[in-house]
Structure formats: C-alpha cells, structure tokens
C-alpha cells in the first residue's frame, strides 16, 4: 500500500516541477525511475520512443506506463496495473490542475490592472514567435534531418513528400471551398501516407 502511495507522490513531485513542456521532464522522470529501480534504463528509453509517437502529452503517457508497470509488480494482476496507472497519472496532473484553476479564477481581476495588460501585450507576439520557430525547427529536424549544427544531415525525402502533399491539400481545399480542412483529418491522411510510402519504399 505504501509503495502505491510512493508512485503517487513521485509523480506528484514530477508534475509540480515539470516546467517547459514534455521534453523537459524526460530527464526528471528518468532519474526518479532509475533511483527507485522501477524500470531499466533501456526499457524506459524504448518506451519514450513510443510515448513520443502515441497521442497525448508525454508526461501523461510516461506516468500511465510507469504506473501500470510498477503497480503490476506491487499487486500482481490487472488491479495492480490499473491502480498504479491511475495513481501515477492523477499525481502528474494534479499540480498543474490546481495551479491553472487558481490562475483561471483570479485572471479576470488581474486583467483590470493596466500593467498586467501591458505584460500580456508583450508576451503574445513572443508566444506566436515561439510556435512559428518550433514549426521551422521541426521542419529542419524532421525533414532536413539536422538536429544541431554539430550533427550530420539525414535528409528524409519521404517526409518531405508527405509534408508537401498535406500543404498542397490544405491550401487547395481552402482556395476552392473557402473552408479549412480539419487537422484531425490531415493527421489521418498523413498516417496512411506514412504506411504506404515508408512501407513500400
């Protein structure tokens, strides 16, 4: 029982300090999991590869997987798996849930101050810049295959084809119908293209 509580507390801690999105928390989770001896390093690295490609935030994916695996060791069988997964996921979500709830309740009051408004005015273009820059960086890493200027180039021309097809599809549809294609549909199309292109070639 105490060991199950330990899962919850560990992920509560991870959830409370995992600033800056999913990838920032990977080393944190790795340290905790290795220190507790919950999983081997290789097992964890294999899972991270999967967590990156399945839907959902990587923090949730890691918590669910590690919780399920560890829970199954503490109480063998399905009950252990589900309890571990639930406790870990609940733990990792709880801190941000509470913090955002507090912010959401006070933000209306805060917005009455001109200083707060000025602060938000300054960060909005920065956020747009961050998103656009991330898109450009992803293009450089995923399609051109360059991670840093120190690394080698691994150009993925199949990814370029898929990217081009999706882009052309999106803008052609927009031009003809004046409506935009749903991102969900684009994701499904690209998954099928991925299976066809990478599978055949």
């Amino acid at each position: 029982m105490l060991e199950l509580l330990e899962i919850f507390l560990t992920f509560l801690k991870i959830g409370a300090v995992s600033f800056g999105g999913g990838y920032a928390m990977i080393p944190l989770v790795t340290d905790e999991v290795i220190a507790h001896g919950w999983m081997s390093y290789d097992q964890l690295m294999n899972f991270i590869a999967v967590a990156e490609s399945t839907p959902g935030p990587i923090a949730i994916n890691m918590a669910t997987f590690i919780g399920a695996t560890r829970g199954g060791v503490i109480i063998s069988g399905f009950l252990g798996n589900i309890l571990g997964a639930l406790l870990a996921t609940f733990g990792v979500v709880l801190p941000s849930f509470i913090i955002i709830l507090v912010i959401a309740t006070i933000i209306k009051g805060l917005l009455q101050f001109a200083g707060v408004k000025a602060f938000l005015n300054g960060l909005r273009p920065v956020v747009v810049g961050l998103i656009t820059a991330t898109g450009i960086l992803l293009f450089i890493t995923v399609i051109l295959g360059v991670n840093t200027i120190y690394g080698e180039i691994k150009f993925d021309w199949l990814a370029l084809i898929i990217f081009t097809v999706i882009t052309v599809l999106y803008y052609t549809y927009k031009r003809i119908t004046k409506k935009t294609l749903s991102p969900i549909l684009l994701i499904i199309i690209s998954a099928i293209l991925g299976i066809l292109l990478y599978g055949v070639i």
């Binding site: 300090v17 999105g21 959902g56 849930f97 913090i99 998103i131 999706i166 999106y170 991925g194």
Partner: protein, 201 residues
C-alpha cells in the same frame, strides 16, 4: 440539464483533442484552434495566446493546462474537471493498453510508419498554427519586432544546442511589454504636467 449538456460537450471536445495530440504540446494548438475557437467560439485567439503563455510558464503539459483553463471559463470548476478528464483519458487508455504488450508493440512496423507520416503532418500543423496566429495579431512595429526577435533567437539557440527554456522568452516578452507601457505612461504624464503648468501661467 443545460449545464450537464455543456459539461458533456466539454468532455467530448477535449477527448477529441487528447486523441489527436501527437508530438508534444504545440501540435495540439492546431486542433484546439479548430475545435475550440473556430467551431465552438469558446475563447478568442488573443485569450488563447494568453493561455499558452500561462501554460508554458507553469508546470504541466500544455494540453492539460489549456483544458483546465478553458473548462473553467466555460463551466466553472466542474468544467475544468470534465475538460481535463477528457484530454487525459485517450492517452491513459491507449498507453494502459499498450503497457500489456509493450515488447510486441515496438516491433509492429506499420505502426511506426504511420507515426513517421504523422510526424511530417505535425510539422505542417505547427507551422500553419504559427502563421495563422501571426496573421491574427495586430501588425504593430512592437508586435513584429518581438515576433521576429523570438523567431531568430529560438532557432539560433536550438541549432547551437543551447538550452534556453521558453519560460524565459515569455517572461522577457512580458517585461518588455511592461517597460514600453511604463515609458509611454510617464511620457504622457510629463507632457500633461507641462500642459497643466502652461495653463496656470
């Protein structure tokens, strides 16, 4: 009854967002834009930028933070509860299922091909989200300067493999906004003071 319907609607919308969030936080921006802003009109583009900034400066995944915030805005505490549950549930269910046959899962090749295709699509989605947001913010010199500076700084730092958290970018942007506001405020005050003096004479 109306409230229950709204809660269910929140849950379902965020379930959809959770199900189609691939490749980390920014990828979900495209889906949120479509489902929350364009289809439902629950929040404005500007407010969504604020939510992203808040989410990036607080711990926890962007998807969870946005769900909690928007849920609260639409239907109070229960709203944030249902939205958060909705966004977390898909990845929880998927990863929990995978955890039982994980060793086999990583060897299914067509799944990895599909993910490769999705990755190329995510590049498009994030780039497109950035471009779309850029077109929505006001084209003032202040906004454009901050946008371009962020773009150049982030891409340069990433390619040089220098770690600089996006929280700092956001904070710096906010501070610049505040400073520009204060400079304008005191300038106005000075000129109006002078005018007052001029009036007395």
């Amino acid at each position: 009854m109306e409230k229950l319907k709204r809660l269910f609607n929140l849950f379902l919308t965020f379930f959809k967002i959770g199900l189609f969030t691939f490749g980390g936080g920014y990828a979900m921006i495209a889906v949120i834009e479509r489902e929350i802003i364009e289809k439902k009109g629950w929040i404005s583009h500007e407010e969504f930028l604020d939510v992203i900034a808040i989410a990036e400066s607080t711990p926890g995944p962007l998807a969870v933070n946005s769900a909690t915030y928007i849920g609260y805005k639409i239907a109070g505490i229960f709203g944030s509860l249902f939205a958060t549950l909705g966004v977390v549930l898909p990845s929880f269910l998927i990863i929990f299922t995978i955890s039982f046959f994980f060793d086999k899962f990583i060897h299914i090749t067509w799944v990895s091909y599909a993910f490769k295709g999705i990755q190329a699509c995510v590049v498009f989605l994030i780039l497109n989200a950035g471009i779309k947001m850029q077109s929505k913010i006001k084209k003032t010199a202040f906004n454009l300067t901050l946008f371009i500076l962020t773009l150049i700084a982030l891409i340069t730092l990433e390619l040089l493999a220098v770690n600089f958290s996006s929280i700092f970018f956001i904070l710096i942007g906010g501070l610049i906004g505040l400073i520009v506001y204060l400079i304008g405020y005191f300038k106005n005050k000075n000129t109006s003071d002078k005018n007052d003096n001029g009036g007395k004479r």
